[in-house]
């Protein structure tokens, strides 16, 4: 068990090193020498390139650049070009804003996907299965921003509530209940939108897992023992089908950043995804590179967590 953990940890460390190298290498996509400023690329003026050289120590040898880059990052020396604040502090602040959106979205995804996927697998080939299958494909295929606009028009027209931003301004005089409901509406719509693709993918995956397990010998054994169908499905099959999902719990972490760019932009939600988008618009390179690096680390931490969780739930790995 410890050996397994140790191996996983070392592996993750090696991956981490390469992730840091790649994140760092991204800055090389920008032109390196002021003389090489591409006249066709209006994003790079001479001043920008000069600033670039200084911030990323481009005049030093490569390995020093790499080390200096991460030293600056972790000591808070690496600052946003836009407002001069430390990149890490900035990200942390926005991260806290994104957190409720992420938690509600994940909760919606997981609580909906499982019943839907399991039910579809049990009634395989039936009407419920077919319609949820089609619905899942529909949700996967719909462009997120298009769906967002449809949903905004619908909600605004039907319930007459504002949904853009984190809260409605000028409500401070209103009662507590009104303010609470205001926050809930503002939180709910983007969360649902963020969850749609996840629900579609996860419920398909749950269905596949469930079907896989339902064809196993031990499910037949359970039936041969005379157990009621509910016990066969929800105890013997489900417990086995759930195993891989426990590990997926670690993998929701990266959704914190990656999935939220478009939705946070549409809803003007001051979260990490919107910050990243704004950074790209403002060519705030230290922020852009750091966000990439941190989200890759989140994935790595997520996979490590899922290794850990797997050990807890699967009796075969225990030692």
């Amino acid at each position: 068990m410890l050996a397994f953990l140790g191996r996983s940890f070392v592996q993750k460390l090696i991956t981490l090193f390469f992730i840091s190298v790649i994140s760092f290498a991204v800055i090389y996509l920008a032109p390196g020498e002021p003389s090489q400023v591409d006249p066709l690329n209006p994003k790079f003026t001479k001043e920008v390139v000069e600033r670039f050289r200084q911030q990323f120590h481009l005049d030093k040898p490569l390995h020093q650049q790499y080390l200096l880059f991460y030293r600056d990052l972790f000591t808070g020396k690496s600052v946003s070009w836009k407002d001069g604040r430390s990149v890490l502090a900035k990200i942390y602040e926005r991260f806290l804003n994104s957190l409720p959106l992420f938690i509600v979205g994940t909760l919606i995804t997981w609580t909906l996907s499982f019943p839907v996927g399991i039910q579809a697998a049990i009634s395989r080939g039936g009407g419920y299965d077919r319609s949820t299958t089609f619905l899942a494909y529909l949700l996967i295929s719909i462009p997120g921003f298009f769906f967002a606009y449809i949903l905004i028009i619908f909600v605004v027209n039907t319930f007459h509530v504002p949904v853009i931003g984190m809260r409605t301004f000028g409500l401070s005089g209103a009662g507590l209940a009104t303010r609470m409901m205001d926050r809930v509406w503002h939180l709910l719509i983007p969360s649902i939108l963020g969850a749609t693709a996840g629900i579609a993918v996860l419920s398909r995956y749950v269905r596949g897992q469930m079907l896989e397990v339902e064809s196993q010998d031990y499910v037949r054994t359970a039936r041969a023992k005379g157990l009621p169908e509910e016990q066969v499905h929800y105890k013997h099959a489900l417990r086995n089908a759930l195993l891989p999902f426990v590990t997926m719990f670690g993998l929701v972490l990266p959704g914190l950043i990656g999935g939220s760019v478009i939705i946070e932009s549409i809803f003007a939600w001051p979260g990490i995804g919107r910050m990243a988008y704004e950074a790209i618009l403002a060519r705030d390179y230290p922020v852009i590179i750091t966000v990439n690096f941190i989200s890759a680390i989140l994935v790595l931490v997520g996979t490590f967590l899922s290794d850990l969780l797997y050990m807890v739930v699967d009796p075969r790995i225990k030692l």
Binding site: I14, T15, F18, I19, I22, V26, Y28, L29, A30, E33, D38, L40, N41, K43, D59, P61, L62, G125, T133, F134, Y137, L138, I140, S141, I142, P143, G144, F145, F146, Y149, I150, I153, L211, S215, P254, I257, G258, G259, V261, I262, S265, G273, A276, Y277, I280, L281, R283, I288, I289, V291, N292, S295, A296, I297, V299, L300
Partner: protein
Amino acid sequence: MQDSGSEHTLSTEALDLPARQTRLQEFWAQLRKNRLALIGLVIFVLFFIVAVTGMVLTTGTSPQLDSSLVRLQEKLRPPLSRPNLKSLQADEVPVLGIYLLGTDELGRDVFARMLQGAWVSLTVGFVAVGIAVLIGIILGGLSGYYGHSPVRVAQVFIAVLVVLVVTNWSRLSFKTLAVLISITVALAVFLLFSRKKEFGGPLFLLNTQLFSVDMLITGLIDIMLCFPSFFLILTVVALLPASIYNIMIVIGLTSWMGAARFVRAEFLSLREQDFVTAARALGVSDWRIIFRHMVPNAIAPVLVSATIGIAGAILTEAGLSFLGFGVPPPHATWGNILSDGKNYLFDAPWLTIIPGVAILVVVLSFNLFGEGLRDILNPKLRERH
């Protein structure tokens, strides 16, 4: 059993061979049972035709607009409205004599722009996925076929030295460069000879293996999977000059991991099968084995992931366009028609709804067809239905 996989590739291209006809018929019979996949295929073909006719019917990338109209209300016209024939040149009249899908905020014919956009979306999807599949097949194939081959210390040194030299070309003095290059050459020579001879002492260290090719490539896949793909694409596209080619290349370079994994898994299991062993025993060259025997067998899952990948690429392009980093004007894509239209959401809802629904339908058809293809090409799954 021997050619159980090659049928899939051949069945699509070898229409005229009677021996393969039955395979195609079988495929067709399977497809007809899967109604969703069939609908997907029909829409897919329609989309293809639309995209090609769009190239022919419309005037390339130049916008079709009525320059006599000045005010916004005049320019934004709902679907099925008649154009002002007096002010239009002969070649500016929309295809069917009416603005089938209305006009946009510049008075451009949305139908014509949608046709152009179909072509661009299709190109982006196919080229991006083509790049991804190519990388996937090469890396996945290398990893699956040569997976056990060791990577030796000397080879790693060479790689590091080459990277150092190339990246620091202008910063290092002539002397250091010369030293670095000569060390690299010396190592290369050493590698050439070390295959024949046993080296003792410290030189032996250079020849020890560090890891295998397979570990290298799967490691690379894992690393690439760590990056949030959409944001990485956004970053790279934002750093590079805006162009449709950059978008295709970047989407391709960040989405090859799935294909590589499939090909690797397929190759690993094919390697052990009798017909490959037999071919190897007959002295058939590695390249021939890979391209004549293994790639055709491994192509089925790649085809599936490619179909679904095209859907993903179209969505990604639309997302990029929406954020303002997509295909730059004057190219029309469904993504930038939509993102331009969002400013007139209430005055001209068709500008949002038409491209939105179009993207939805096309992406849906690719997804449905891809899933159907997966079911058909995977006999194990077929039994379950």
